[in-house]
């Protein structure tokens, strides 16, 4: 089976072609970071306009790529939620119609399931069951994956997502957007002994996260000091260490609670090297195997959507399961999207 994947849930237009025998064939991404930068945030209408402008040319370039020897594919997967409604509808309307025109199945994919399954695109993918830490710009989730398609959310952020905390902290330190890579870069020259930041919600039981207090703590520290290059590096490091340590403590707790022997980390913040190294150490100490996708598949992309669509269409027991979103599809020709949609409700 060769499947086209389409991602348009937020500010990245992604598309990819995945083959069940050959793996990922081609993929491409058009980022809108520059478009939204001047407005101080993602402007939903601008995002949707850009998606419809670039999506079909992007798909066309993949279909015609010499690496893809099939002009017509066997299925089309598109992100059906969660995300911005106008942005989601672009991928859904084009993806569903293209599938209808080709006479092949279309499937609406859950964006976070895409992230969760993204390590499957790599060599030596994890087997079920596993524990997953999903840390992106919009979500921070600890998920117990008992079996294919069976997700239980063990913990999530009560306020800012981890990636959002990186972005906001970078902003108050005068660093570039997106904040994650900028903070990680600045932190390289930081002195770990200068500041120590709190590890929010770690001294009480539970697996939920909170990052807004850490952001405030960073702000107060930044206001108390002259923000020279060294101080910025020291604060960036203290912040990064606090986030990474907090995520590690919760992962450790969740691993002993679930007794899982595999840990998956995905989502934009999963690209963070310090997080990967720290979780690797945790995994080694506990005889657990750590899995993560390559850095470019940590952030939003079409490849993970193609894979998740393939997974849904071909996994026994999932293929015919209706998307249980409270609002069942009216008919086989409908392309509903779900701006709010929990992983547990797929």
């Amino acid at each position: 089976m060769r499947i086209l994947g389409i991602e348009t849930s937020c500010d990245d237009t992604g598309a990819a072609i995945y083959d069940s025998h050959q793996g990922l064939i081609v993929h491409q991404l058009a980022s809108q970071v520059d478009l939204h930068q001047q407005y101080g945030g993602v402007v939903p209408e601008l995002a949707a306009r850009d998606h419809i402008r670039v999506l079909l040319p992007l798909i066309d370039s993949l279909v015609r790529d010499p690496l893809n020897d099939a002009k017509k594919l066997d299925a089309v997967a598109y992100t059906a939620g969660p995300g911005l409604v106008g942005a989601l509808l672009v991928g859904a309307s084009l993806g569903k119609s293209l599938a209808q025109s080709w006479g092949v199945p279309a499937i609406g994919v859950h964006h976070m399931e895409g992230h969760l399954l993204s390590p499957m695109l790599e060599d030596n993918p994890p087997e079920f069951p596993f524990l997953a830490l999903l840390v992106s710009g919009g979500h921070t989730l600890l998920v117990d994956v008992e079996a294919a398609g069976h997700y239980k959310i063990l913990g999530q952020s009560v306020d800012d997502a981890a990636g959002e905390a990186f972005d906001k902290t970078a902003k108050l330190l005068g660093l570039d957007y997106p904040g994650g890579p900028a903070i990680a870069k600045a932190a390289i020259n930081g002195d770990a002994n200068r500041f120590t930041f709190p590890r929010p919600m770690t001294n009480r039981p539970g697996l939920d996260f909170s990052f807004s207090g850490l952001k405030t703590h960073t702000l107060i520290t930044a206001q108390k000091h002259q923000l020279d290059e060294q101080t910025i590096a020291d604060i960036a490091l203290a912040f990064e260490l606090a986030v990474v340590d907090t995520l590690k403590i919760k992962c450790s707790r969740a691993l002993s609670q679930t007794m899982r022997k595999r840990l998956v980390v995905a989502g934009g913040v999963g690209a963070n090297q310090r997080l990967r190294a720290t979780l690797q150490k945790l995994a080694d100490q506990n005889n657990v195997r750590l899995f993560y996708p390559r850095a470019e598949f940590c952030t939003d992309n079409g490849a993970m959507i193609a894979y998740a669509g393939y997974f849904r269409l071909t996994t026994e027991g999932l293929a015919n399961r209706r998307l249980a979103t409270g609002k069942p599809a009216v008919n086989d020709y409908a392309f509903d999207v779900h701006p709010r949609w929990s992983l547990e409700d797929i």
């Binding site: 001047q38 407005y39 402007v43 209408e45 079909l56 084009l94 119609s97």
Partner: protein, 243 residues
């Protein structure tokens, strides 16, 4: 020419299949402000008209689509559907402006179509319809306050479209006379879209990748929201205004 026409640009959702001999149409109206719900209707309508006419997409010559102005979301659903169907079946697309589609619903004469653009504005333009050729655009589509049409409207003209229902009195006050012939047509329909596409011919068709929306309202982010360069975005800023 065999044309499949798709119109989801306003509260009305319709699909038509037109050939030299006949035209079949499916039509439905959504509750006000819910063009996103066209996502449940439009492809079923496509399937219905194809079945009824015994055609497959591959037998057609082109796909026509209403490119707006109208609901931003509705316009994009139409574009996405037209692009997907056309790309998959190797067909060209013919984009037609919603105001021209409205104009094509009269047989002949000068017409001022107006579509409710929310925020106390209308999308409008001025057209002349001459039998059996496509509507001639006398004034290009604009978004304006209903009381300030940027063109004169003579007394023999007729007016139609949802903008007239909502702002009819203001439009009349603005153009300075009440002689205009107001028609009850509210929304563009795929059968008139198909008619304009037939009249335009394949010369006006483009590859599906080249299809573009006619938003007309392009000032969608209030300028005060603009931040100085170098300031970084935070996730999900306030939603932009607009319809």
């Amino acid at each position: 020419m065999k044309i499949l026409a798709i119109d989801t640009a306003t509260e009305a959702c319709s699909v038509a299949l037109s050939t030299a001999q006949e035209i079949i149409q499916k039509y439905d109206i959504q509750s006000i402000g819910q063009p996103a719900a066209h996502s449940r209707l439009v492809l079923q309508m496509v399937e219905d008209v194809l079945q009824k006419s015994n055609f497959r997409l591959g037998n057609l010559d082109a796909i026509a689509v209403n490119t707006g102005p109208g609901s931003f979301t509705g316009v994009r659903i139409g574009l996405g559907v037209a692009q997907g169907l056309a790309y998959g079946a190797d067909l060209p697309v013919i984009g037609v402006c919603s105001l021209a589609v409205l104009a094509a619903s009269i047989e002949s004469g000068v017409v001022l179509p107006a579509i409710d653009a929310r925020m106390n504005q209308v999308y409008c333009g001025l057209y002349e319809v001459v039998k059996s050729s496509k509507p001639i655009q006398l004034y290009h589509p604009v978004v304006v306050n209903p009381g300030s049409m940027p063109f004169p409207v003579n007394k023999s003209a007729c007016g139609l479209g949802s903008g007239w229902d909502v702002y009819g009195d203001a439009i009349i006050a603005g153009i300075g006379h009440n002689e205009i012939n107001r028609l009850s047509v509210r929304y563009p329909e795929a059968k008139y879209l198909a008619k304009v596409a037939q009249q335009s011919g394949l010369e006006s068709a483009v590859a599906p990748m080249q299809l573009q929306a006619t938003y007309v309202r392009n000032n969608i982010v209030e300028s005060r929201k603009r931040l100085p360069p170098g300031t970084r975005p935070v996730r999900h800023a306030d939603h932009a205004r607009g319809h």
